[in-house]
């Protein structure tokens, strides 16, 4: 039985954690928001320099060739720091999509740039209301794409988008150069202030088809994987909230006693600890399933997603509650997570979607 990160993975975690603490402290986040910045390109380069962007990209494409678990570890630290970089979009979605469904030529063309950080990618699936991929109107005709995709995370800083569309009634997946003609990008007004989202409009934009395989199946696999990366991001955030609340409760005194000595506070934080550990345990299971190619991935990914969303939302709320009035100020750090928890709860689909997928996987049928 060795159901834990390896020593190397633990070192990686510490390394990323320290680097982000140093380069993306809360004061820096406030600066970026006030400046209306979409991201922190310096931090992005620093991540690239450490090789982290290419962690799971094969060495032949300029990556480190580590496994998915390593990518999960990095995602967790990104979540802990609410790091203002398009890591999830570019690495966990776009690069993963290309790894899963790109041709050899497409891999050779894009993965090295994604690994080095010179190219930023994003994934354009959603078309407004409804669930990802349920009902697509964006259409491909020949090698041209027309339609509207929103919300798309990080599209404003991305060079390429992996786009899901329909072609003759069939779901297809392809690459679009966002600098090319026929593409417009508009920033949306959203709830999370640290991760920009956009509406991408395509009008006869050049579309390079990606896979001969069934794109709907690729998308399903991609979302299983995405759910695991997001779960780690959520758990990192939830743990940050838990320990922030605990530290504040140990320091703050109320009625002559440490706030941390009140049983209501103790039990509230004990519950958060339980939620974090349940989520982390499911996330390890899912990371293991992903890295080993286990057919348990759909159930494991959905379990991780459901428990991580719960842990993150509860921790974000109760962290703010524990901080009292201070937590309600912009000067405190609780609000980054309070907003981010909502984004991550929905960005790859709400609980209802994943509950449906989970029971579908377990019941031997599919999602309804």
């Amino acid at each position: 039985m060795n159901f834990d990160l390896s020593d190397e993975q633990k070192m990686l975690k510490d390394q990323v954690s320290r680097m982000l603490l140093d380069r993306a402290p809360p004061a820096r986040l406030r600066e970026l928001i006030d400046a209306g910045q979409d991201w922190d390109p310096d931090l992005w380069r620093a991540l690239a320099d450490m090789g982290l962007l290419g962690a799971a990209i094969p060495a032949e494409y300029g990556g480190l060739g580590l496994g998915e678990i390593d990518l999960c570890v990095i995602a967790g630290e990104i979540g802990r720091a609410v790091a203002p970089v398009p890591f999830f979009s570019s690495i966990c979605l776009a690069a993963e999509a290309i790894r899963l469904a790109g041709s050899a030529a497409q891999k050779a063309r894009w993965l090295p740039g994604l690994a080095s950080g010179e190219v930023v990618g994003c994934l354009a699936v959603n078309e407004g209301r409804g669930f990802a991929g349920d009902r697509l109107e964006a259409a491909v005709s020949g090698d041209r794409l027309s339609g509207v995709k929103w919300p798309v995370s990080d599209a404003g800083v991305a060079d390429i988008a992996v786009v899901v569309a329909v072609e003759n009634g069939r779901t297809v997946l392809g690459l679009v150069d966002l600098q090319g003609p026929g593409v417009t990008c508009e920033r949306l007004k959203g709830f999370d202030e640290l991760r920009p989202h956009h509406r991408l409009a395509f009008s006869d934009a050049a579309f390079e088809a990606m896979t001969e395989a069934d794109a709907a199946q690729v998308l399903k696999a991609l979302y299983d994987r995405a759910a695991v990366y997001v779960a780690f991001e959520q758990i990192g955030g939830a743990e940050a909230c838990l320990w922030m609340a605990r530290d504040y409760a140990l320091e703050r005194r109320v009625f002559g006693r440490k706030l941390a000595s009140y049983q209501a506070v103790k039990h509230n934080l004990a519950d958060l600890y339980v939620y974090c550990e349940l989520a982390r345990s499911n996330a390890y299971w899912a990371a293991w399933a992903m890295e080993t190619g286990s057919d348990q991935l759909p159930a494991a990914a959905a379990s991780a997603r459901v428990s991580a969303t719960w842990a993150h939302e509860q921790a974000a709320r109760e962290n703010l509650q524990t901080h009292g009035g201070v937590g309600f100020t912009w000067a405190a750090d609780c609000h980054f997570h309070y907003r981010r928890a909502r984004l991550l709860a929905l960005n790859v689909g709400a609980e209802e979607v994943w509950a449906d997928r989970l029971v579908g996987a377990l019941a031997g049928g599919d999602a309804r």
Binding site: G130, R253, F255, G256, R317, L320, Q321, F328, T329, A331
Partner: protein, 403 residues
């Protein structure tokens, strides 16, 4: 069991309606362009004067001190009727009328009352509250702002926080520590403070909503004449309690939140239909609705006991506790209904930004004016008769309590 006014209540309501129709006509609908803060304050002063002149500003006060000698229920009825208008109102008015004046009347001298009450009721002076401090929130007795006697004056130093619109206030009610060697609740004294006094600096606090409704107020060698002390030296806690008794006003009526969610659900897509077709959505909405309506009708039950002249129940604590609970969840769910797209304001959802604000704001309400934990304590102790927490700071000199 009915929801109707008693005959006396109905008569009073009719009178108020007629008066409002005549005197608040210009506030029947929202202003064409939103008021600035300064405009709200200017209009608010006038609105208060109009109410006070008619005896409606202080319905429950005895007639002898400018009140109306009315019942708590009449005050509720007046507020219900007021809420049908868009009035230039805010804490800057209620702190004066409902907190400062009662405290001065009960604990101050007749001269002090004569000095401040008429000017307050006429809207000539508006007030803010300098109570909370960074280290004294739920535990208000922990204020550290020091007031030191010097001849006929007090020299005050310290920092206050959560002061609504302090930058618009003429005067403040202030709680300060005058004897750090006494046990914490016994070394406090209550003052009124002219906000133009040198050394008073109100800075806006940026909140997580992006708004700056509150200030932190720094007091540096601020001189307060002893004539502005309300009550005896060392009796500030009792005065503050009189003030806070009057703070928790009637519950804000939130009826309709879940019905709006149902409308949203009706237009949120789901595979093969709308969100309203989903048993999961229906169950979530039903639970929220049952909470929303339960607390609404609980409010009616409290009003009934007010209407019968019974003293206010400590069970009122459950109103805010419940309202913030379901409103926080409901506003999150208003995003969830549209899945990922629910996190963005778009032409299809032009008021989504209001949902975002509410989701943040409700979390603030879980803290302000009695945090969840304080309210649960209140219910356990004052309704269920369970014992208080063990206290480490009782009968200990304030300056010896560990910080």
């Amino acid at each position: 069991m009915d929801f109707n006014d008693s005959p006396q209540e109905a008569a009073f309501r009719a009178e108020v309606r007629a008066w409002m129709a005549k005197n608040a006509a210009e506030y029947a609908s929202p202003p064409a362009t939103p008021w600035s803060e300064a405009q709200i304050v200017a209009l608010g002063r006038k609105w208060l004067k109009r109410k006070a002149d008619a005896g409606y500003a202080t319905i429950t006060w005895p007639k002898a001190v400018g009140g109306r000698g009315g019942t708590a229920m009449e005050e509720v009825i007046f507020r219900q009727e007021e809420r049908k208008y868009v009035l230039p109102d805010g804490p800057f008015l209620s702190i004066g009328v409902n907190m400062a004046c009662p405290a001065i009347r009960r604990h101050g001298s007749p001269e002090q009352y004569q000095r401040f009450a008429p000017l307050t009721l006429s809207g000539d002076i508006v007030w803010c509250q300098l109570f909370s401090e960074p280290a004294a929130g739920s535990d208000l007795g922990g204020v550290r702002t020091r007031a030191v006697r010097e001849g006929d004056n007090w020299i005050v130093n310290g920092q206050k926080v959560w002061n609504s619109w302090a930058h618009h206030a003429d005067w403040a009610i202030l709680l300060a520590r005058t004897d750090p060697g006494a046990p914490k609740h016994k070394g406090l004294t209550f003052f009124v403070l002219d906000m133009r006094t040198p050394g008073v600096e109100a800075r806006p606090i940026r909140q997580i909503t992006g708004r700056t409704d509150f200030n932190e107020t720094f007091l540096s060698d601020v001189v307060i004449p002893d004539s502005c002390r309300i009550g005896e030296v060392g009796e500030g806690w009792a005065v503050a309690m009189t003030v806070l008794m009057n703070e928790r006003a009637g519950p804000r009526d939130k009826d309709g939140l879940v019905l709006r969610l149902i409308e949203r659900a009706r237009s949120a897509e789901r595979p093969g239909g709308t969100a309203l077709d989903s048993a999961q959505v229906r169950t979530t909405l039903a639970r929220l609705y049952a909470e929303e309506q339960g607390v609404k009708y609980f409010g009616y039950r409290l009003l009934t006991s007010l209407s019968k002249g019974e003293p206010p129940s400590p069970a009122v604590a459950m109103i805010k506790l419940t309202q913030t609970h379901y409103a926080q969840l409901a506003n999150a769910y208003a995003m969830d209904l549209d899945d990922f797209a629910g996190l963005f304001e778009t032409p299809e959802r032009p008021h989504q930004d209001q949902i975002f604000f509410e989701y943040l704001y409700q979390q603030g309400l879980r803290i302000a004016g009695g945090a969840d934990e304080v309210l649960r304590n209140q219910i356990a102790e004052r309704v269920l008769g369970m014992p208080q927490e063990m206290r480490a700071d009782k009968d200990v000199p304030f300056d010896q309590i560990p910080r």
